[in-house]
Amino acid sequence: MIRSPIILIEAALGLVLTLLAAVALGGQGALVTVLVFAVWIIGTLINLRLAAGGRGAGLAPLVLGLTLLGMWELAVRGFGISPVILPPPSAIAVRIAGSLPILWEDFVQTVIKGALSGYVIGCGAALITAVIVDRFDFLRRGLLPVGNFVAALPVIGIAPILVMWFGFDWQSKAAVVVVMVFFPMLVNAVEGLRATEPMQRDLMHTYAAGYWTALVKMRLPAALPFVFNGLKIASTLALIGAIVAEFFGSPIRGMGFRISTSVGLLALDLVWAEIVVAAIAGSAFYGAIALIEKRMTFWHPSQRGR
Protein backbone atom coordinates (compact mmCIF):
# COMPACT_ATOMS: atom_id res chain seq x y z
CA MET A 1 0.00 0.00 0.00
CA ILE A 2 3.00 2.35 -0.01
CA ARG A 3 1.88 3.89 -3.24
CA SER A 4 1.49 7.45 -2.17
CA PRO A 5 4.42 9.43 -3.57
CA ILE A 6 4.26 12.06 -0.84
CA ILE A 7 5.46 9.63 1.79
CA LEU A 8 8.35 8.49 -0.41
CA ILE A 9 9.40 12.07 -1.11
CA GLU A 10 9.08 12.85 2.56
CA ALA A 11 11.19 9.85 3.53
CA ALA A 12 13.86 10.65 0.94
CA LEU A 13 14.02 14.27 2.04
CA GLY A 14 14.26 13.23 5.67
CA LEU A 15 17.03 10.77 4.88
CA VAL A 16 19.07 13.36 2.98
CA LEU A 17 18.66 15.93 5.75
CA THR A 18 19.60 13.37 8.38
CA LEU A 19 22.72 12.31 6.54
CA LEU A 20 23.75 15.94 6.02
CA ALA A 21 23.22 16.69 9.70
CA ALA A 22 25.05 13.55 10.73
CA VAL A 23 28.05 14.43 8.56
CA ALA A 24 28.05 18.01 9.76
CA LEU A 25 27.82 17.15 13.46
CA GLY A 26 29.94 14.01 13.61
CA GLY A 27 30.43 11.80 16.68
CA GLN A 28 27.62 11.74 19.23
CA GLY A 29 25.49 14.20 17.25
CA ALA A 30 25.44 11.81 14.33
CA LEU A 31 24.36 8.90 16.51
CA VAL A 32 21.55 10.94 18.07
CA THR A 33 20.37 12.16 14.67
CA VAL A 34 20.25 8.60 13.37
CA LEU A 35 18.35 7.48 16.48
CA VAL A 36 15.81 10.30 16.16
CA PHE A 37 15.33 9.44 12.53
CA ALA A 38 14.92 5.76 13.42
CA VAL A 39 12.11 6.60 15.86
CA TRP A 40 10.43 8.61 13.15
CA ILE A 41 10.74 5.80 10.57
CA ILE A 42 9.29 3.26 13.00
CA GLY A 43 6.35 5.54 13.78
CA THR A 44 5.69 6.17 10.10
CA LEU A 45 5.85 2.45 9.29
CA ILE A 46 3.36 1.61 12.04
CA ASN A 47 1.08 4.32 10.73
CA LEU A 48 1.41 3.02 7.17
CA ARG A 49 0.39 -0.42 8.41
CA LEU A 50 -2.54 1.06 10.32
CA ALA A 51 -3.68 3.11 7.33
CA ALA A 52 -3.46 0.11 5.04
CA GLY A 53 -5.30 -2.19 7.44
CA GLY A 54 -8.30 0.05 7.90
CA ARG A 55 -8.90 -1.47 11.34
CA GLY A 56 -7.34 0.47 14.20
CA ALA A 57 -6.98 3.56 12.06
CA GLY A 58 -8.11 5.54 15.08
CA LEU A 59 -4.78 4.76 16.70
CA ALA A 60 -2.81 6.60 13.98
CA PRO A 61 -2.82 10.00 15.70
CA LEU A 62 -1.77 8.35 18.95
CA VAL A 63 1.19 6.72 17.22
CA LEU A 64 2.20 10.03 15.66
CA GLY A 65 1.97 11.72 19.05
CA LEU A 66 4.12 9.08 20.71
CA THR A 67 6.60 9.28 17.83
CA LEU A 68 6.93 13.03 18.23
CA LEU A 69 7.32 12.71 22.01
CA GLY A 70 9.99 10.06 21.52
CA MET A 71 11.89 12.23 19.04
CA TRP A 72 11.62 15.20 21.39
CA GLU A 73 12.95 13.25 24.38
CA LEU A 74 15.79 11.72 22.39
CA ALA A 75 16.80 15.00 20.76
CA VAL A 76 16.78 16.98 24.02
CA ARG A 77 18.83 14.34 25.88
CA GLY A 78 21.08 13.48 22.95
CA PHE A 79 22.02 16.99 21.89
CA GLY A 80 22.26 18.16 25.48
CA ILE A 81 19.75 20.98 25.03
CA SER A 82 19.57 23.07 28.19
CA PRO A 83 16.31 22.57 30.15
CA VAL A 84 16.11 26.35 30.25
CA ILE A 85 15.35 26.30 26.54
CA LEU A 86 13.39 23.09 26.08
CA PRO A 87 12.79 20.58 28.87
CA PRO A 88 12.30 16.92 27.85
CA PRO A 89 8.78 15.45 28.11
CA SER A 90 9.79 13.22 31.02
CA ALA A 91 10.83 16.23 33.11
CA ILE A 92 7.50 17.89 32.33
CA ALA A 93 5.63 14.76 33.42
CA VAL A 94 7.60 14.66 36.68
CA ARG A 95 6.79 18.33 37.25
CA ILE A 96 3.07 17.77 36.64
CA ALA A 97 3.03 14.89 39.13
CA GLY A 98 4.97 16.98 41.65
CA SER A 99 2.93 20.19 41.58
CA LEU A 100 -0.64 19.02 41.29
CA PRO A 101 -1.96 21.37 44.03
CA ILE A 102 -0.55 24.46 42.27
CA LEU A 103 -1.89 23.33 38.91
CA TRP A 104 -5.33 22.66 40.40
CA GLU A 105 -5.43 26.07 42.10
CA ASP A 106 -4.49 27.79 38.82
CA PHE A 107 -7.01 25.69 36.93
CA VAL A 108 -9.84 26.71 39.27
CA GLN A 109 -8.84 30.38 39.15
CA THR A 110 -8.43 30.67 35.39
CA VAL A 111 -10.64 28.05 33.80
CA ILE A 112 -13.55 27.64 36.21
CA LYS A 113 -13.82 31.18 37.58
CA GLY A 114 -12.48 33.22 34.67
CA ALA A 115 -13.14 31.38 31.44
CA LEU A 116 -16.24 29.36 32.27
CA SER A 117 -18.26 32.13 33.94
CA GLY A 118 -17.36 34.55 31.15
CA TYR A 119 -18.23 31.91 28.57
CA VAL A 120 -21.67 31.28 30.03
CA ILE A 121 -22.47 34.98 30.41
CA GLY A 122 -21.11 35.93 26.98
CA CYS A 123 -22.77 33.12 25.05
CA GLY A 124 -26.05 33.57 26.93
CA ALA A 125 -26.10 37.30 26.26
CA ALA A 126 -25.25 36.72 22.60
CA LEU A 127 -28.08 34.20 22.21
CA ILE A 128 -30.65 36.55 23.73
CA THR A 129 -29.34 39.44 21.61
CA ALA A 130 -29.55 37.21 18.55
CA VAL A 131 -33.24 36.49 19.17
CA ILE A 132 -33.95 40.22 19.58
CA VAL A 133 -31.86 41.12 16.53
CA ASP A 134 -33.61 38.47 14.51
CA ARG A 135 -37.01 39.87 15.47
CA PHE A 136 -36.23 43.30 14.00
CA ASP A 137 -34.90 43.28 10.46
CA PHE A 138 -33.54 46.82 10.79
CA LEU A 139 -31.36 45.79 13.72
CA ARG A 140 -30.18 42.72 11.88
CA ARG A 141 -29.06 44.64 8.85
CA GLY A 142 -27.30 47.18 11.05
CA LEU A 143 -25.75 44.95 13.70
CA LEU A 144 -24.60 42.06 11.54
CA PRO A 145 -21.98 43.96 9.50
CA VAL A 146 -20.74 45.64 12.68
CA GLY A 147 -20.66 42.26 14.45
CA ASN A 148 -18.77 40.65 11.58
CA PHE A 149 -16.28 43.51 11.69
CA VAL A 150 -15.76 43.30 15.44
CA ALA A 151 -15.42 39.50 15.26
CA ALA A 152 -12.34 39.99 13.05
CA LEU A 153 -10.72 42.57 15.31
CA PRO A 154 -7.93 41.93 17.80
CA VAL A 155 -10.45 42.12 20.66
CA ILE A 156 -7.80 40.83 23.05
CA GLY A 157 -6.46 44.39 23.06
CA ILE A 158 -9.21 45.54 25.39
CA ALA A 159 -7.83 43.24 28.10
CA PRO A 160 -5.75 46.00 29.76
CA ILE A 161 -8.76 48.32 29.82
CA LEU A 162 -11.05 45.74 31.39
CA VAL A 163 -8.41 44.83 33.96
CA MET A 164 -8.29 48.52 34.81
CA TRP A 165 -12.07 48.65 35.24
CA PHE A 166 -12.82 45.39 37.02
CA GLY A 167 -9.71 44.91 39.15
CA PHE A 168 -7.14 42.14 39.15
CA ASP A 169 -9.28 39.21 40.24
CA TRP A 170 -11.26 36.81 38.08
CA GLN A 171 -14.07 39.28 37.36
CA SER A 172 -11.92 41.19 34.87
CA LYS A 173 -10.90 37.92 33.18
CA ALA A 174 -14.54 36.91 32.88
CA ALA A 175 -15.28 40.33 31.38
CA VAL A 176 -12.57 39.86 28.74
CA VAL A 177 -14.00 36.45 27.90
CA VAL A 178 -17.52 37.89 27.63
CA VAL A 179 -16.39 40.49 25.11
CA MET A 180 -14.30 37.98 23.16
CA VAL A 181 -17.02 35.34 22.75
CA PHE A 182 -19.95 37.69 22.27
CA PHE A 183 -19.60 38.66 18.62
CA PRO A 184 -18.59 35.32 17.06
CA MET A 185 -21.49 33.78 18.96
CA LEU A 186 -23.91 36.52 17.91
CA VAL A 187 -23.03 36.26 14.23
CA ASN A 188 -23.45 32.49 14.25
CA ALA A 189 -26.71 32.53 16.20
CA VAL A 190 -28.29 35.18 13.95
CA GLU A 191 -27.22 33.18 10.93
CA GLY A 192 -28.76 30.08 12.49
CA LEU A 193 -32.08 31.72 13.28
CA ARG A 194 -32.45 32.50 9.59
CA ALA A 195 -31.71 28.91 8.57
CA THR A 196 -35.32 27.75 8.29
CA GLU A 197 -36.77 27.20 4.84
CA PRO A 198 -39.91 28.95 3.54
CA MET A 199 -41.66 25.58 3.38
CA GLN A 200 -41.06 24.96 7.08
CA ARG A 201 -42.18 28.46 7.99
CA ASP A 202 -45.33 28.01 5.93
CA LEU A 203 -46.04 24.74 7.70
CA MET A 204 -45.82 26.50 11.07
CA HIS A 205 -48.15 29.13 9.67
CA THR A 206 -50.73 26.51 8.69
CA TYR A 207 -50.56 25.21 12.27
CA ALA A 208 -51.54 28.74 13.36
CA ALA A 209 -48.35 28.87 15.43
CA GLY A 210 -47.55 32.24 16.93
CA TYR A 211 -44.11 33.88 16.98
CA TRP A 212 -43.04 32.25 20.25
CA THR A 213 -44.26 28.78 19.35
CA ALA A 214 -42.49 28.96 16.01
CA LEU A 215 -39.37 30.24 17.72
CA VAL A 216 -39.21 27.48 20.31
CA LYS A 217 -40.40 24.58 18.18
CA MET A 218 -38.89 25.37 14.80
CA ARG A 219 -36.32 28.14 14.59
CA LEU A 220 -34.29 27.52 17.74
CA PRO A 221 -33.84 23.81 16.96
CA ALA A 222 -33.01 24.69 13.35
CA ALA A 223 -30.42 27.17 14.60
CA LEU A 224 -28.68 24.60 16.81
CA PRO A 225 -25.96 23.53 14.31
CA PHE A 226 -24.93 27.17 13.88
CA VAL A 227 -25.15 27.82 17.61
CA PHE A 228 -22.89 24.86 18.30
CA ASN A 229 -20.45 26.09 15.70
CA GLY A 230 -20.33 29.39 17.58
CA LEU A 231 -20.00 27.62 20.93
CA LYS A 232 -17.02 25.64 19.64
CA ILE A 233 -15.22 28.72 18.35
CA ALA A 234 -16.01 30.52 21.60
CA SER A 235 -14.65 27.66 23.73
CA THR A 236 -11.08 28.09 22.48
CA LEU A 237 -11.40 31.89 22.57
CA ALA A 238 -12.57 31.79 26.19
CA LEU A 239 -9.49 29.96 27.41
CA ILE A 240 -7.12 32.21 25.48
CA GLY A 241 -8.88 35.33 26.72
CA ALA A 242 -8.78 34.28 30.36
CA ILE A 243 -5.07 33.41 30.24
CA VAL A 244 -3.90 36.42 28.25
CA ALA A 245 -5.91 38.81 30.45
CA GLU A 246 -3.82 37.63 33.40
CA PHE A 247 -0.70 39.04 31.78
CA PHE A 248 -2.06 42.52 32.47
CA GLY A 249 -2.37 41.96 36.18
CA SER A 250 -3.74 39.20 38.37
CA PRO A 251 -3.72 37.89 41.94
CA ILE A 252 -0.85 35.51 42.68
CA ARG A 253 -2.56 32.50 41.18
CA GLY A 254 -3.89 31.61 37.76
CA MET A 255 -2.40 29.97 34.70
CA GLY A 256 -1.45 33.19 32.94
CA PHE A 257 0.20 34.53 36.08
CA ARG A 258 2.10 31.26 36.62
CA ILE A 259 3.27 31.17 33.00
CA SER A 260 4.54 34.74 32.96
CA THR A 261 6.30 34.51 36.33
CA SER A 262 7.78 31.06 35.64
CA VAL A 263 9.24 32.30 32.36
CA GLY A 264 10.96 35.01 34.38
CA LEU A 265 12.31 32.40 36.80
CA LEU A 266 13.39 30.15 33.89
CA ALA A 267 11.29 27.34 35.39
CA LEU A 268 10.24 26.17 31.96
CA ASP A 269 9.11 22.73 33.13
CA LEU A 270 6.36 24.42 35.17
CA VAL A 271 5.41 26.53 32.14
CA TRP A 272 5.10 23.41 30.03
CA ALA A 273 3.09 21.73 32.77
CA GLU A 274 0.63 24.65 32.65
CA ILE A 275 0.52 24.36 28.87
CA VAL A 276 -0.33 20.67 29.13
CA VAL A 277 -3.11 21.48 31.60
CA ALA A 278 -4.40 24.24 29.31
CA ALA A 279 -4.33 21.93 26.30
CA ILE A 280 -6.17 19.19 28.17
CA ALA A 281 -8.72 21.66 29.52
CA GLY A 282 -9.19 23.16 26.06
CA SER A 283 -9.59 19.78 24.36
CA ALA A 284 -11.98 18.55 27.05
CA PHE A 285 -14.04 21.73 26.79
CA TYR A 286 -14.21 21.42 23.00
CA GLY A 287 -14.88 17.68 23.19
CA ALA A 288 -17.72 18.14 25.68
CA ILE A 289 -19.43 20.64 23.40
CA ALA A 290 -18.93 18.37 20.39
CA LEU A 291 -20.50 15.52 22.35
CA ILE A 292 -23.54 17.58 23.33
CA GLU A 293 -23.79 18.70 19.72
CA LYS A 294 -23.87 15.10 18.56
CA ARG A 295 -26.71 14.37 20.98
CA MET A 296 -28.77 17.42 20.14
CA THR A 297 -28.29 17.78 16.40
CA PHE A 298 -28.34 14.11 15.44
CA TRP A 299 -30.74 14.98 12.60
CA HIS A 300 -28.29 17.27 10.79
CA PRO A 301 -26.53 15.89 7.67
CA SER A 302 -23.07 16.66 9.07
CA GLN A 303 -23.78 14.32 12.02
CA ARG A 304 -25.65 11.57 10.18
CA GLY A 305 -22.84 10.55 7.88
CA ARG A 306 -20.66 9.14 10.65
Binding site: A152, I156, G282
Partner: protein, 287 residues
Protein backbone atom coordinates in the same frame (compact mmCIF):
# COMPACT_ATOMS: atom_id res chain seq x y z
CA UNK B 1 -25.70 49.61 -0.10
CA UNK B 2 -29.15 49.28 1.42
CA UNK B 3 -27.44 48.38 4.69
CA UNK B 4 -25.86 51.80 5.06
CA UNK B 5 -28.70 53.39 7.02
CA UNK B 6 -29.05 50.57 9.61
CA UNK B 7 -25.28 50.35 10.03
CA UNK B 8 -24.97 54.08 10.56
CA UNK B 9 -27.82 53.94 13.08
CA UNK B 10 -26.08 51.19 15.02
CA UNK B 11 -22.78 53.08 14.99
CA UNK B 12 -24.54 56.24 16.14
CA UNK B 13 -26.20 54.31 18.95
CA UNK B 14 -22.81 52.91 19.95
CA UNK B 15 -21.37 56.43 20.07
CA UNK B 16 -24.22 57.63 22.28
CA UNK B 17 -23.71 54.67 24.63
CA UNK B 18 -19.99 55.40 24.65
CA UNK B 19 -20.45 59.08 25.63
CA UNK B 20 -22.92 58.08 28.33
CA UNK B 21 -20.55 55.43 29.66
CA UNK B 22 -17.66 57.90 29.61
CA UNK B 23 -19.73 60.31 31.69
CA UNK B 24 -20.74 57.61 34.15
CA UNK B 25 -17.25 56.12 34.58
CA UNK B 26 -15.36 59.41 34.82
CA UNK B 27 -17.90 61.19 37.01
CA UNK B 28 -16.49 60.02 40.34
CA UNK B 29 -13.02 61.34 39.67
CA UNK B 30 -14.31 64.72 38.51
CA UNK B 31 -16.52 65.02 41.59
CA UNK B 32 -13.63 64.10 43.88
CA UNK B 33 -11.43 66.73 42.29
CA UNK B 34 -14.14 69.36 42.67
CA UNK B 35 -14.73 68.43 46.32
CA UNK B 36 -11.02 68.71 47.03
CA UNK B 37 -10.91 72.20 45.57
CA UNK B 38 -14.16 73.20 47.28
CA UNK B 39 -15.85 73.86 43.97
CA UNK B 40 -19.44 73.11 43.14
CA UNK B 41 -19.94 72.05 39.58
CA UNK B 42 -23.01 72.52 37.53
CA UNK B 43 -24.17 69.53 35.53
CA UNK B 44 -22.91 71.16 32.38
CA UNK B 45 -19.44 71.67 33.79
CA UNK B 46 -19.44 68.10 35.08
CA UNK B 47 -20.28 66.70 31.65
CA UNK B 48 -17.65 68.85 29.98
CA UNK B 49 -15.07 67.73 32.52
CA UNK B 50 -15.79 64.00 32.17
CA UNK B 51 -15.25 64.25 28.44
CA UNK B 52 -11.96 66.13 28.67
CA UNK B 53 -9.90 64.46 31.40
CA UNK B 54 -6.23 63.71 30.98
CA UNK B 55 -6.29 60.09 32.18
CA UNK B 56 -9.97 59.14 32.08
CA UNK B 57 -11.24 55.66 32.88
CA UNK B 58 -12.95 55.74 29.51
CA UNK B 59 -11.89 58.47 27.09
CA UNK B 60 -14.65 60.05 25.04
CA UNK B 61 -14.67 59.26 21.30
CA UNK B 62 -13.50 62.72 20.28
CA UNK B 63 -10.46 62.47 22.60
CA UNK B 64 -9.45 59.24 20.89
CA UNK B 65 -10.05 60.80 17.49
CA UNK B 66 -7.83 63.78 18.37
CA UNK B 67 -5.08 61.49 19.67
CA UNK B 68 -5.32 59.37 16.51
CA UNK B 69 -5.12 62.46 14.31
CA UNK B 70 -2.11 63.79 16.23
CA UNK B 71 -0.16 60.52 16.19
CA UNK B 72 -1.03 59.48 12.67
CA UNK B 73 -1.13 62.64 10.61
CA UNK B 74 0.88 65.24 12.50
CA UNK B 75 3.95 63.15 13.41
CA UNK B 76 6.79 62.16 11.12
CA UNK B 77 6.18 58.59 9.95
CA UNK B 78 9.62 57.38 11.08
CA UNK B 79 9.28 58.94 14.54
CA UNK B 80 8.68 56.72 17.57
CA UNK B 81 5.75 58.86 18.52
CA UNK B 82 4.01 58.12 15.27
CA UNK B 83 1.35 55.45 15.41
CA UNK B 84 2.02 54.67 11.75
CA UNK B 85 5.54 53.57 12.70
CA UNK B 86 4.20 51.21 15.40
CA UNK B 87 1.49 49.90 13.10
CA UNK B 88 4.13 49.14 10.47
CA UNK B 89 6.27 47.21 12.97
CA UNK B 90 3.27 45.06 13.85
CA UNK B 91 2.08 44.75 10.28
CA UNK B 92 5.45 43.54 8.99
CA UNK B 93 5.50 40.72 11.57
CA UNK B 94 1.88 39.94 10.73
CA UNK B 95 2.56 39.73 7.01
CA UNK B 96 5.66 37.56 7.48
CA UNK B 97 3.75 35.16 9.73
CA UNK B 98 0.75 35.20 7.43
CA UNK B 99 2.90 34.30 4.41
CA UNK B 100 4.69 31.50 6.24
CA UNK B 101 1.43 30.20 7.69
CA UNK B 102 -0.29 30.17 4.32
CA UNK B 103 2.64 28.29 2.79
CA UNK B 104 2.77 25.74 5.60
CA UNK B 105 -1.00 25.33 5.61
CA UNK B 106 -1.15 24.75 1.87
CA UNK B 107 1.68 22.20 1.96
CA UNK B 108 0.05 20.32 4.82
CA UNK B 109 -3.31 20.36 3.04
CA UNK B 110 -1.78 18.92 -0.15
CA UNK B 111 -0.12 16.22 1.92
CA UNK B 112 -3.35 15.42 3.75
CA UNK B 113 -5.38 15.22 0.55
CA UNK B 114 -2.87 13.02 -1.31
CA UNK B 115 -1.70 10.77 1.52
CA UNK B 116 -4.01 8.64 3.62
CA UNK B 117 -1.36 8.25 6.28
CA UNK B 118 -1.09 11.98 6.73
CA UNK B 119 -4.85 12.34 6.70
CA UNK B 120 -5.17 9.80 9.49
CA UNK B 121 -2.27 10.91 11.63
CA UNK B 122 -1.68 14.62 11.03
CA UNK B 123 -5.22 15.99 10.84
CA UNK B 124 -6.18 15.24 14.47
CA UNK B 125 -2.97 16.91 15.63
CA UNK B 126 -3.63 19.97 13.52
CA UNK B 127 -6.94 20.30 15.34
CA UNK B 128 -5.40 19.52 18.73
CA UNK B 129 -2.68 22.10 18.08
CA UNK B 130 -5.33 24.81 18.12
CA UNK B 131 -6.72 23.85 21.50
CA UNK B 132 -3.36 24.83 22.99
CA UNK B 133 -3.81 28.47 23.84
CA UNK B 134 -0.73 29.53 21.88
CA UNK B 135 -1.38 33.16 22.70
CA UNK B 136 -0.96 32.26 26.32
CA UNK B 137 2.48 30.78 25.77
CA UNK B 138 3.54 33.41 23.26
CA UNK B 139 5.65 35.17 25.92
CA UNK B 140 7.55 31.97 26.61
CA UNK B 141 8.20 31.31 22.95
CA UNK B 142 9.52 34.84 22.52
CA UNK B 143 11.76 34.56 25.57
CA UNK B 144 13.10 31.16 24.53
CA UNK B 145 13.76 32.23 20.95
CA UNK B 146 15.50 35.31 22.33
CA UNK B 147 17.65 33.06 24.51
CA UNK B 148 18.91 31.12 21.50
CA UNK B 149 19.62 34.30 19.62
CA UNK B 150 16.54 34.75 17.46
CA UNK B 151 15.00 38.14 18.05
CA UNK B 152 13.25 40.95 16.28
CA UNK B 153 10.69 40.14 13.65
CA UNK B 154 10.97 36.37 13.51
CA UNK B 155 9.57 35.27 16.91
CA UNK B 156 6.44 37.36 16.40
CA UNK B 157 6.10 35.98 12.90
CA UNK B 158 6.34 32.43 14.25
CA UNK B 159 3.37 33.04 16.56
CA UNK B 160 1.41 34.58 13.71
CA UNK B 161 2.30 31.58 11.58
CA UNK B 162 1.10 29.12 14.21
CA UNK B 163 -2.24 30.91 14.43
CA UNK B 164 -2.73 31.38 10.70
CA UNK B 165 -1.81 27.97 9.31
CA UNK B 166 -4.81 26.25 10.84
CA UNK B 167 -7.64 27.97 8.95
CA UNK B 168 -5.65 27.52 5.75
CA UNK B 169 -5.21 23.78 6.32
CA UNK B 170 -8.89 23.26 7.07
CA UNK B 171 -10.06 25.41 4.16
CA UNK B 172 -7.61 23.99 1.63
CA UNK B 173 -8.34 20.36 2.56
CA UNK B 174 -12.03 21.08 2.03
CA UNK B 175 -11.30 22.96 -1.19
CA UNK B 176 -8.91 20.42 -2.70
CA UNK B 177 -11.50 17.72 -2.04
CA UNK B 178 -14.37 19.76 -3.45
CA UNK B 179 -14.17 18.45 -7.08
CA UNK B 180 -16.85 15.81 -7.56
CA UNK B 181 -16.16 12.24 -8.63
CA UNK B 182 -17.58 13.14 -12.04
CA UNK B 183 -15.01 15.89 -12.53
CA UNK B 184 -12.19 13.62 -11.38
CA UNK B 185 -13.38 10.94 -13.82
CA UNK B 186 -13.44 13.53 -16.57
CA UNK B 187 -9.78 14.34 -15.89
CA UNK B 188 -9.11 10.63 -16.01
CA UNK B 189 -10.72 10.25 -19.43
CA UNK B 190 -8.47 13.05 -20.67
CA UNK B 191 -5.51 10.97 -19.52
CA UNK B 192 -4.44 13.75 -17.14
CA UNK B 193 -1.45 13.04 -14.95
CA UNK B 194 -1.59 13.56 -11.21
CA UNK B 195 0.15 16.92 -11.51
CA UNK B 196 -2.22 18.06 -14.23
CA UNK B 197 -5.19 16.98 -12.18
CA UNK B 198 -3.85 19.02 -9.30
CA UNK B 199 -3.06 22.18 -11.27
CA UNK B 200 -6.05 22.20 -13.60
CA UNK B 201 -8.80 20.86 -11.40
CA UNK B 202 -8.12 20.69 -7.67
CA UNK B 203 -6.20 23.95 -7.26
CA UNK B 204 -8.72 26.15 -9.11
CA UNK B 205 -11.59 24.42 -7.31
CA UNK B 206 -10.04 25.24 -3.95
CA UNK B 207 -9.74 29.00 -4.55
CA UNK B 208 -13.04 30.11 -2.98
CA UNK B 209 -12.22 28.10 0.15
CA UNK B 210 -8.67 29.46 0.19
CA UNK B 211 -9.80 33.07 0.20
CA UNK B 212 -12.35 32.52 2.95
CA UNK B 213 -9.57 30.94 5.02
CA UNK B 214 -7.07 33.68 4.21
CA UNK B 215 -9.35 36.32 5.72
CA UNK B 216 -9.60 34.42 8.99
CA UNK B 217 -5.86 33.69 8.91
CA UNK B 218 -5.04 37.37 8.44
CA UNK B 219 -7.13 38.43 11.42
CA UNK B 220 -5.59 35.67 13.51
CA UNK B 221 -2.02 36.55 12.59
CA UNK B 222 -2.57 40.19 13.52
CA UNK B 223 -3.74 39.10 16.97
CA UNK B 224 -0.67 36.86 17.17
CA UNK B 225 1.71 39.68 16.31
CA UNK B 226 0.12 42.03 18.85
CA UNK B 227 0.23 39.52 21.68
CA UNK B 228 3.77 38.60 20.62
CA UNK B 229 4.79 42.17 21.37
CA UNK B 230 3.46 42.16 24.92
CA UNK B 231 6.33 40.43 26.78
CA UNK B 232 10.06 41.17 26.95
CA UNK B 233 9.45 44.89 27.07
CA UNK B 234 8.99 45.28 23.35
CA UNK B 235 9.66 48.89 22.46
CA UNK B 236 7.82 49.15 19.17
CA UNK B 237 4.55 47.92 17.78
CA UNK B 238 0.88 48.23 18.64
CA UNK B 239 1.14 45.60 21.39
CA UNK B 240 3.94 47.56 23.03
CA UNK B 241 1.77 50.69 22.89
CA UNK B 242 -1.05 48.79 24.59
CA UNK B 243 1.23 47.54 27.36
CA UNK B 244 2.92 50.90 27.90
CA UNK B 245 -0.47 52.56 27.98
CA UNK B 246 -1.76 50.13 30.57
CA UNK B 247 1.35 50.57 32.75
CA UNK B 248 1.13 54.35 32.81
CA UNK B 249 -2.64 54.64 32.81
CA UNK B 250 -2.63 56.36 29.42
CA UNK B 251 -6.09 55.20 28.44
CA UNK B 252 -6.29 57.48 25.43
CA UNK B 253 -3.11 55.89 24.09
CA UNK B 254 -4.58 52.39 24.60
CA UNK B 255 -7.75 53.24 22.77
CA UNK B 256 -5.95 54.89 19.87
CA UNK B 257 -3.68 51.84 19.53
CA UNK B 258 -6.79 49.65 19.56
CA UNK B 259 -8.41 51.69 16.82
CA UNK B 260 -5.21 51.60 14.78
CA UNK B 261 -5.18 47.80 15.13
CA UNK B 262 -8.80 47.69 14.03
CA UNK B 263 -8.00 49.84 11.01
CA UNK B 264 -5.01 47.66 10.07
CA UNK B 265 -7.12 44.50 10.41
CA UNK B 266 -9.94 45.98 8.35
CA UNK B 267 -7.54 47.16 5.64
CA UNK B 268 -5.68 43.84 5.42
CA UNK B 269 -8.86 41.77 5.30
CA UNK B 270 -10.35 44.26 2.83
CA UNK B 271 -7.38 43.87 0.47
CA UNK B 272 -7.79 40.10 0.53
CA UNK B 273 -11.45 40.62 -0.29
CA UNK B 274 -10.56 42.75 -3.31
CA UNK B 275 -8.03 40.18 -4.58
CA UNK B 276 -10.62 37.49 -4.00
CA UNK B 277 -13.23 39.26 -6.06
CA UNK B 278 -10.80 39.97 -8.89
CA UNK B 279 -9.45 36.41 -8.97
CA UNK B 280 -12.79 34.67 -8.77
CA UNK B 281 -14.19 36.97 -11.43
CA UNK B 282 -11.40 36.06 -13.82
CA UNK B 283 -11.96 32.39 -13.06
CA UNK B 284 -15.67 32.72 -13.73
CA UNK B 285 -16.55 31.64 -10.19
CA UNK B 286 -17.95 35.02 -9.27
CA UNK B 287 -21.55 34.66 -8.31
Amino acid sequence: MRNILPVLTVILALLVVWYAAAFQLNKQWALDMAARQDRVMTTQQLIADTWAQDKPKLPAPHQVAVELWETVALKNVTSRRSLVYHAWVTLSATLAGFGLGTLLGTLLAVGIVYSRVMDLSVMPWVIASQTIPILAIAPMIIVVLNAIGISGLLPKAMISMYLSFFPVVVGMVKGLRSPSQMELDQMCTWNASGVQEFIKLRLPASMPYLFASLKIAMAASLVGAIVGELPTGAVAGLGARLLAGSYYGQTIQIWSALFMAAAVAAAAVGIIGIVQRATLKRMGLDR
